[in-house]
Subunit: 186 residues, 2 copies
DNA sequence: CGAGGATGCCTTAGCGCTGAGATACATTGG
DNA sequence: CCAATGTATCTCAGCGCTAAGGCATCCTCG
């Protein structure tokens, strides 16, 4: 376990802030690079490597709850975006596209699937005949009303291990990073 | 901007810790749910929503640097995993699979592509004839040696807006979440 | 030893997404 | 009013991944 002897300055800071963290995959990765390329400061990997792994694990956990309701993440995303937009629960594909951060082609296909299942309707807009009004059907409402509380409970469960200070710090650091990357300017 | 009047308890905590954060996409999402479903505590979305958006934005940024070196994220991932494993720069598909958190089929295909480009070799193991030894070729070494410093510099650039305390808090919170989700136990 | 199960990797159908491009409609400026 | 440009959506080929299953090899234990 020679990799345990290598620690970055960030790691040491962390140890001071929160006692006894367990070595995880990224500690090993950083230690390996320390041995192989000691000339490089790979400490940013502590952030981005964990971001990637966390995203994958969370994604899998959330999908399980979606599947229990006959949904997947893309479908849930569209239904939830329509629901939280409030009355009249109607958005354009462009609005959905910006919210989901996917291309227009992806939204077209998501809506094809949801429309085929009778969960949303797609009508031509009267104001702008290029555009479409996407709206929840009663079935769509019923489904998202069932799935949402389960999803929220699932998210609470996943966060149960963090205290308020950790959550707040996590949120603020991610907020800062998002702003750096141009979020909110659009 | 009625959504600005709605704030979660987490949000207020955060405001105390770091002055004047700008409202971002997730603030709006949480405010919308507050109006539509005031019975639900959707504060976990502050974490998971930002995690998702951050992952997407970071992924796009990192891919740009990979592309400058004729790579994409999956290829870079395999080459970097082999490189950081140190001499003799050789791993099995199973090892690569666990590191990348993808299925065996995904690794097979990644290796097909890299082998076709002459960046890795795949030979039968002598110890276990079911297994394979995947090894960097000289061309693979040359490519990852060029791409890695650029990638690390890129990651430093993306983190430039965070101070040390924010980085440390972010890392420790993600480490705690990863451990909750079963990382490190494997 | 030899059967049954475990393991390591590969194959393949199907899925959701991207990127490039097409179409239809809207807006702007002369 | 019209031409030029911009905008909203859809189309489609191609990509990487998953899930399920197959094959060869290894291991365990009666």
């Amino acid at each position: 376990m020679t990799w345990l002897t290598v620690t970055s300055s960030l790691r040491k800071l962390a140890v001071i802030a929160y006692p006894e963290p367990v070595a995880d995959h990224l500690d090993r990765v950083v230690a390996q690079w320390g041995a192989e390329r000691p000339d490089l400061d790979v400490s940013p990997m502590e952030v981005f490597g964990r971001l990637k792994r966390l995203f994958r694990l969370v994604d899998a956990e959330l999908n399980r709850t979606f599947a229990e309701h006959g949904l997947d993440a893309p479908s849930f995303d569209v239904l939830a975006t329509l629901k939280r937009s409030g009355p009249p629960y109607r958005l354009t594909p462009t609005g959905l596209m910006e919210s989901a951060m996917v291309t227009s082609g992806a939204i077209t296909q998501r809506l094809d699937r949801l429309e085929a299942r009778g969960l949303v309707t797609r009508t031509r807009s009267d104001q702008d005949r290029r555009s479409r009004d996407v709206e929840l059907t009663p079935e769509g409402h019923a489904l998202i009303d069932r799935a949402l509380p389960a999803h929220v409970a699932n998210e609470h469960r996943l966060l149960a291990g963090l205290d308020e200070a950790q959550k707040a710090a996590l949120i603020e650091a991610m907020r800062a990073l998002l702003e750096d990357l141009g979020e909110g300017s659009g």
